[in-house]
């Protein structure tokens, strides 16, 4: 039985740094992907999908806020400051989340890759030793179950429906697979995180992810590209230029009057 950490005060030193880094990754992935998904509101292929995508974006941004609150409890700035004042290099999101929304197939495949990752991540966090995070993860899992079902449904529907849908989905799988691998980029904190029981290792997560994704894509008539280099860097703050553009867009109004209430 691992030692549990009931509150922010109970973690210190390198384990605290590791925990903070882990929560930044969770929060930033959700905020940035939620931001990308929110852009579909009003523009999706059918009204029903529009509404569902918008709910997804709201859940993701809402979850990001919850993670930012945990960070704030650990002594980091408040959620709005974290979302609106950091520069790109301070973000810890994976490149998968920050790419522009692309066509519906691109957003669908991205979401599917991310949802499988997140489902397994949350499962591990729920059993983790940092109580506030484990508690939040258990709560988020309830919402995540629906996201996962929804993502699977889209991949399964579009993967094998028409020539065009198959072709678009395959193209997105090819483009996004390396970025998806970037979700599992090793970090210097990995061993500490696992040793303290905050969460499982990235390589452990990756194995469960890979098994599930491969069997699902296979079922949907899609092929996993061979020999793909993982797109790393995001977890270290080395991002594609898209992130800076996204942040400029996101912080545009805020920067007009940074000290004001909005």
């Amino acid at each position: 039985m691992k030692k549990t950490f009931a509150s922010p005060d109970s973690v210190s030193g390198e384990s605290r740094d590791a925990l903070i880094d882990l929560i930044y990754r969770l929060a930033d992935d959700d905020l940035i992907l939620g931001h990308r998904n929110s852009v579909w509101t009003g523009l999706a292929p059918i009204l029903e999908a529009d509404i569902a995508m918008s709910s997804l974006a709201q859940d993701e941004i809402g979850q990001a806020v919850a993670y930012y609150r945990l960070l704030h409890d650990l002594g980091e700035p408040d959620p709005d400051t974290l979302a609106f004042t950091r520069s790109a290099q301070d973000y810890r999101c994976a490149s998968l989340t920050l790419l522009d929304r692309g066509d519906w197939a691109f957003s669908t495949v991205r979401q599917y890759f991310y949802d499988v990752y997140k489902t397994h991540r949350l499962a591990s966090l729920s059993d983790g030793t940092y109580a506030p995070l484990a508690q939040l993860a258990r709560k988020v899992r309830g919402e995540q179950k629906y996201h996962m079902m929804h993502s699977r449904m889209w991949v399964s529907r579009l993967g094998d429906a028409t020539d065009e849908s198959r072709e678009r989905m395959q193209r997105s799988v090819d483009t996004l697979y390396g970025h998806a691998l970037g979700l599992f980029e090793p970090t210097p904190f990995e061993q500490i995180i696992a040793d303290h029981g905050f969460c499982t290792t990235e390589s452990g997560l990756f194995e469960t992810w890979r098994d599930e994704v491969h069997s699902m894509l296979d079922h949907a008539g899609l092929t996993i590209p061979g020999d793909v280099t993982p797109k790393h860097g995001g977890r270290r703050g080395q991002h594609l230029p898209e992130l800076q553009l996204l942040l400029d867009e996101m912080q545009q109004v805020y920067r007009l009057e940074p000290t004001a209430q909005w």
Binding site: H35, S38, V39, T41, G42, L43, A44, P45, I46, L47, E48, A49, D50, I51, S54, S55, A57, Q58, I61, G62, A64, V65, Y68, P79, D80, A83, F84, D103, W104, Y146, M149, H150, R152, M153, S156, R157, L158, D160, A161, T162, E164, S165, R168, H219, L246, E249, M250, Q252, V253, Y254, L256, E257, A260, Q261, W262
Partner: protein, 329 residues
């Protein structure tokens, strides 16, 4: 999709039995009964309702665009979440309304086609650009307020499915109004730059807002029969007056002004607001597609529709495919 299930029967002037059916129909309405989808109704009633609901649905979906464009720029997390939810509601309203119009025999596909081809109209206010964040606040507060005045009234109208959709819609619009008012209060009481932004937005939006409830009763072609059949319970001018009575004092309370040229003044005896009559020729030109943002709105809707065509096609194929392993909802 809901298919038209009405049997068209002697529902036009000159058809055998039309006068009797009409008299019974009008008696029901006078009695306060609601007309339901399968009931006998004059063809003219059906057409007017389809026209109104279609325009309303289009306005919701086009109304999602000016504010939706500001989702990526919302200045804090609370506003960001509230704005996404608000725009999502508007899309949901379009969905409800297209469904209500379908009960009268017009398909969603037809309605969408007519919208993107420029044949069908939508509300004048969405033919204008949302230029700054303060425009988002102004739209959410005052346009939604104007919409509530209109929709609360229409919700009491004689066609049941439209009335029920509107009741649900009004419930959500009330949240939008609160969210918009809260944004306006924050900007009005914020820094000078924020206050000026809001005043500037109000200056630009006042004209479309004055036009929002439609042409003056002296000019409106549709009013008389719509009021007789209780599709509409208040005239355009009555709705405009109701809006002004409720919101002009609130606008002044925030330390904002309304542009001089409107000569807004309160008649202390009646409580009515007097104002310079809007240019209704300009209004008509705007709703016919000559507003500053008309071309952009149609282009955006059309692009979304065209780019989504392959998805809709794939969904149809997938729906026929029994191998579908997972289903949702």
């Amino acid at each position: 999709m809901i298919r038209c299930n009405h049997v068209v029967q002697n529902d036009k002037l000159g058809d055998p039995g039309y006068e009797e059916s009409l008299a019974a129909f009008e008696a029901r309405i006078a009695h306060g009964d609601k007309v339901e989808a399968g009931d006998w109704m004059p063809d003219a009633y059906r057409r007017q309702l389809i026209r109104l609901i279609h325009v309303h649905a289009n306005s919701e979906i086009c109304g999602a665009l000016p504010e939706g464009g500001w989702i990526p720029h919302a200045p804090n997390l609370k506003r960001k979440l509230a704005l996404i939810a608000k725009v999502q509601d508007e899309v949901g309203h379009a969905q409800l309304l297209y469904r209500a119009a379908e009960t009268l025999g017009k398909s969603r596909e037809e309605m969408v086609e007519e919208l993107i081809s420029g044949k069908a109209k939508y509300s004048n206010v969405f033919h204008y650009h949302a230029e700054t964040w303060a425009d988002v606040a102004t739209i959410s507060w005052l346009i939604d307020a104007g919409a509530i005045v209109n929709q609360r009234m229409m919700a009491e109208g004689s066609y049941g499915p439209y009335g029920r959709a509107l009741k649900r819609i009004c419930y959500e619009e009330a949240f939008h109004l609160t969210h918009g008012y809260d944004m306006c209060i924050t900007l009005a009481g914020g820094t000078k730059k924020q206050h000026d932004m809001l005043q500037d937005a109000l200056n630009r939006w006042w004209k479309p807002i004055m036009m929002f409830h439609g042409p003056s009763d002296k000019e409106s072609r549709h009013n008389e029969i719509l009021m007789k059949w209780q599709v509409k319970l208040k005239s355009n001018d009555e709705q405009r007056q109701e809006f002004l009575r409720q919101y002009v004092p609130k606008i002044y309370e925030l330390g904002l002004t309304i542009p001089e040229e409107w000569n807004l003044r309160l008649d202390e005896d009646t409580g009515d607001w007097h104002y310079t009559e809007p240019d209704w020729a300009e209004f008509l030109s705007v709703v016919r597609g000559n507003g500053p943002a008309s071309a952009l709105r149609l282009r955006t809707r059309k692009m979304a529709h065209v780019e989504g065509a392959w998805v809709r096609e794939a969904l149809e194929v997938a729906a026929r495919d029994e191998r579908m392993p997972v289903s949702v909802n």
